[in-house]
Symmetry: C2
Subunit: 142 residues, 2 copies
DNA sequence: TCAAATCTGTACTATTTAGTCAAGATTAAA
DNA sequence: TTTAATCTTGACTAAATAGTACAGATTTGA
């Protein structure tokens, strides 16, 4: 079970934006420099975050990125889900039964579904309860 | 955050082996049929499980696979870790800082490390406590 | 109006993961 | 001893993810 690099880098980008005091926001160039991620890849990740309404962008000379909400109001789960999706999604059972017609009939399939779903819940419990502000503050039950 | 198909298929394969009453074990062909996974891919996954000492194999006419231990003694975490590794591993911080020299200096890096590690712990808590036998029985706090 | 600094979008390449193929090794039984 | 059923291994192809390149659009200010 792994995090994708998009999730890892993306959360770091969002935190950079959150920590930027500037009213105009922070540019791709700055985020890229600070995080040691290429500008092109930073831009790609920010696009996803923007399409998911986690950040707002402004073009032009004084352009840049700001958060779409206050850091207290953005749980980490929103960022991670935007970039990497849920572990257990609605198409889970179908996806991993290539032959299509055996879903959830033999008994262990259902208990496996329950297993993965409970892993999902455990992860969500952690990530829903931590906001960007918590991370900035190093608040934690972590 | 996703499970790899190796983890998902692999756990199903192990459970098939666990549920096989036969003393000679169960063949790749049977597992493949039962789970709707190709023989070749099933073989590849079983190889990993064998190298990780989760299953034992016997060649030849009456060959097949059996578990290396009783289902009660194999927590799901062992299977998942063998096939997909840990979410948070020792090289985590280095791996995602391509420029190498910024690890854990700016404050949020450390809180992120704590975050991912606590996700890892939450997942482990679920997967360590569930054994193959639990899944077969549909026992659960799931 | 023009140029510079920025974001935007698409298409491309590289790497990793998923999945297949085929030839070889082992065992049991005829 | 031969054959059939099995596991074993490594090399291959396909698909998904990671990461790059570049041309275009927007805004500001000279």
């Amino acid at each position: 079970m792994k995090l994708s690099t998009q999730e890892i880098y993306g959360l770091r980008c969002v935190l950079r934006i959150a920590r930027s005091g500037s009213k105009n926001g922070i540019t791709i160039h700055e985020i890229s420099e600070d995080e040691g991620i290429s500008q092109a890849y930073t831009a790609k990740i920010l696009r996803i975050l923007r399409l998911n309404k986690l950040v707002l962008s402004e073009r032009g000379k004084h352009g840049g990125y700001i958060l779409a909400d206050t850091p207290e109001n953005i749980p980490v789960s929103r960022v991670v889900d935007a970039l990497g999706g849920k572990l257990y999604e609605s198409d889970f059972c179908y996806k991993y039964h290539p032959d299509g017609n055996k879903q959830c009939i033999p008994v262990e399939y259902c208990s496996l579904r329950n297993l993965w779903f409970s892993v999902q819940k455990a992860v969500d419990q952690v990530l829903n309860d931590v906001t960007l502000q918590d991370i900035i503050d190093q608040n934690s039950a972590l």
